[in-house]
Symmetry: C2
């Protein structure tokens, strides 16, 4: 091995240069006016539309390496329609209000000091994600819009797709005479993840987006602050005064409308008094979509009497389980106390619902359940940045610091205190 080779190899074995360049690029992105950032996103939308066939060609290279039965294949697939949706998402993000530069507090102290607290970009945002290529565009756009540099560490499966998407982003940045390091794709080797997670000197925040396994790994290894966008183990409790037909429709919707997402229902808790009548209304709605049910003893009796075709006896593991599929668990509870206790024990603090017509119980549930989103008489499927009016989201945060619930553009900022004086001393 020559010395030259040796140097080249050691260069490839670290991403420090990329991390340093990211920290430097914060100056470039923050020098843009809000109008320029909007123009940049619109220019990128145009590039995506112009390069649809090139994107599809690259995407096919990734797809060809995958097994047809792999469920990730559909998530990775880009079609003309999906690329159009990406371009439209860029236009939507361009229309959102600028989250940076918002004055949060302004006061003049008795000594004459003028104190202002305002929002400013975070700096360098690292995102670690799996196969969805729309994350590449959404995260880059949200970071540009909020004045942040972003480091994208996508999955190996999406390598060619992410490479062309990043190339188009770089071409657009170049069009605006901007530092390409504002958006960088990191190599997919596992060892570089560790380097990213430890880079407190260069990276301000890391967001893991994907499986619980990925999130756990990041939380347990990161020295850089992390925002978790976690799993949703979501319960819906049907109380005695609930409107039964309406409640069955809410429960069915929460399970069936999109079972693979984090705000989908996992467990139905039903009050003993109404268990038989409610489950008899619910059963045909779930059966129509072949939902596999894991039932506790009481609900098993009711559902087997009703002839429910996809019935199992629930084991302890079926409670507190995120199914991400057309499956759910059912449990009969004595009252709201037992329901709250069950939720407290098994909830992942994402989205929880009570269905009841009793105002005092609605308030009690809203107050006592510790979760990002708590619902009364509605489907947990509504937990979503777009639905709540925040625009595209990076994920649903299930932790309590900084952002809770939909983590969208408005939270890609930090605060800065600005103090102007005329010679004040303390």
């Amino acid at each position: 091995m020559t010395v030259h080779h040796h140097i080249e190899n050691s260069k490839m074995e670290t991403i420090e240069k990329q991390l340093k360049n990211a920290a430097k690029a914060t100056t470039a992105i923050q020098s843009l006016s809000d109008q320029q950032k909007q123009a940049l996103l619109l220019a990128l939308a145009l590039r995506l539309r112009q390069e649809k066939s090139a994107i599809i060609t690259n995407n096919r290279q990734d797809l060809d390496k995958m097994d047809d039965a792999d469920p990730k294949k559909d998530r990775l697939l880009l079609t003309e329609e999906r690329i159009e949706a990406l371009a439209e998402s860029l236009e939507d993000i361009a229309k959102l209000p600028n989250p940076a530069g918002v004055v949060l507090l302004e006061r003049t102290l008795d000594n004459g000091l003028s104190v202002t607290k305002k929002t400013v970009p975070l700096g360098v945002v690292g995102v670690i994600y799996e196969s969805r290529p729309n994350v590449t565009i959404d995260v880059a756009a949200l970071c540009i819009r909020s004045g942040n540099v972003c480091l994208l560490r996508g999955g190996t499966d999406a390598f060619h797709t992410n490479t062309i998407l990043t190339k188009l982003i770089h071409e657009t940045l170049a069009q605006f005479e901007l530092d390409e390091n504002i958006v960088q794709l990191l190599p997919t080797d596992r060892k570089h993840v560790d380097e990213l997670l430890s880079a407190t000197q260069y990276v301000d925040i890391i967001i893991p987006r994907g499986s619980q396994q990925l999130i756990d790994f990041v939380r347990n290894h990161a020295k850089v602050p992390v925002i978790e966008t976690g799993a949703g183990v979501c319960h819906t409790y049907v109380e005695t005064t609930a409107k039964l037909q309406q409640s069955a429709e809410i429960v069915a919707n929460a399970k069936i409308s999109r079972p693979s997402v984090c705000n989908a229902l996992d467990t139905v808790l039903v009050d003993r008094t109404i268990a038989t009548s409610f489950l008899n209304i619910l059963a045909p709605l779930l059966a129509a979509h072949e939902v596999e049910v894991f039932a506790d003893d009481s609900s098993f009796d009711v559902l087997s009497t009703a002839g429910y075709p996809h019935l199992n006896v629930a084991t302890e593991e079926d409670f507190g389980r995120e199914f991400l599929a057309l499956k759910c668990s059912v449990k009969v509870v004595a009252d709201i106390n037992e329901a709250l206790k069950h939720i407290h024990r098994f909830s992942s603090k994402h989205s929880e619902a009570i269905l009841t017509e009793e105002p005092a119980l609605q308030e009690r549930f809203l107050n006592e359940v510790d979760a990002a989103a708590v619902f009364v008489n509605a489907s947990t499927r509504f937990t979503d940045g777009g639905v709540f009016g925040l625009g595209a989201e990076i994920g649903i945060s299930t932790q309590k610091l900084h952002a809770r619930g939909p983590f969208a553009l408005e939270k890609l900022v930090t605060e800065k205190w600005l103090i102007k004086g005329t010679g004040q001393i303390r």
Copy 2:
């Protein structure tokens, strides 16, 4: 060893029971009205005043074990006056606005869903700190006021003092028929710190308060989210248009008024054009307090010509160093670009200042410096929750998530989305 002994030992070897009890106690503290929380703090203030001599007796037990030369001895000392100040601090915290229950957003969606985002207590707050006993009272009071349970892990040095303070808190909680686990003192063994840092199931946030070593340890080992209240490496840049006499007074104040705190000045950057005249005004102000100066070559020449009595040649380590003493470093810079570059390299992102009469340079400095607090023509010593009107603070956060700058009562909350419907499905 008997079986009985063995059981006792294994009980002592884990704090899981305490952590579980903390999580359970959140219900009790959150069931209080705001008025009850205020009353509780006032009752505690009364207890402190009544038990002054008992507190002082316990405090003496801790002090007697310390070397007289130990600088921690003064920090640990409680006198009648200091206990009175603790009681007054409780009264101040009782007067602050309730940070929980604040409506941050309220909207009705097109489908009729009513969406509200409001602030709610975090849950269980863990604080790891060193010898100051006022932290015990301040943290307990801020947590009670905001509806949080707190776990206090104080230093071994303050064991007897913290024990009696916690006992008085428990007696006051009992007076209100409240769960004593709302405020708990954790054992001081090092191994329990690891257990606390990993307790994601029971603890919502950990705040380390103390030395950089402690903070680094917590950041590197915690799985529970952490708010760092970090070291301050604070610069003041004196630009050519600065009013020289005023600037010298600001610099001297920033160094001398309380050198042991994080917002004290560490490095003076002075523009080449005015270096000689400025340093000649500054020198006697620093000399009057025997400030030891570590000067770069240019400023060394000026200060040694001026006969400055406590002068050293600065080494590379004297920049980016938090002195926490009557010491500072001085560097002559060519212009604002060099000053910004130096600050970017060495700042701990706490408090930074520019002294200049040029509005464009003021704006540039305010925009480009990445720090929690950025000052124009004032002393960095003003970075403080009390000064900024936020009340008592847990520390100054130098990180970017959740809280930046003074971390006070207002930030001891998270958010919760509450959604009320009438049967909406997605």
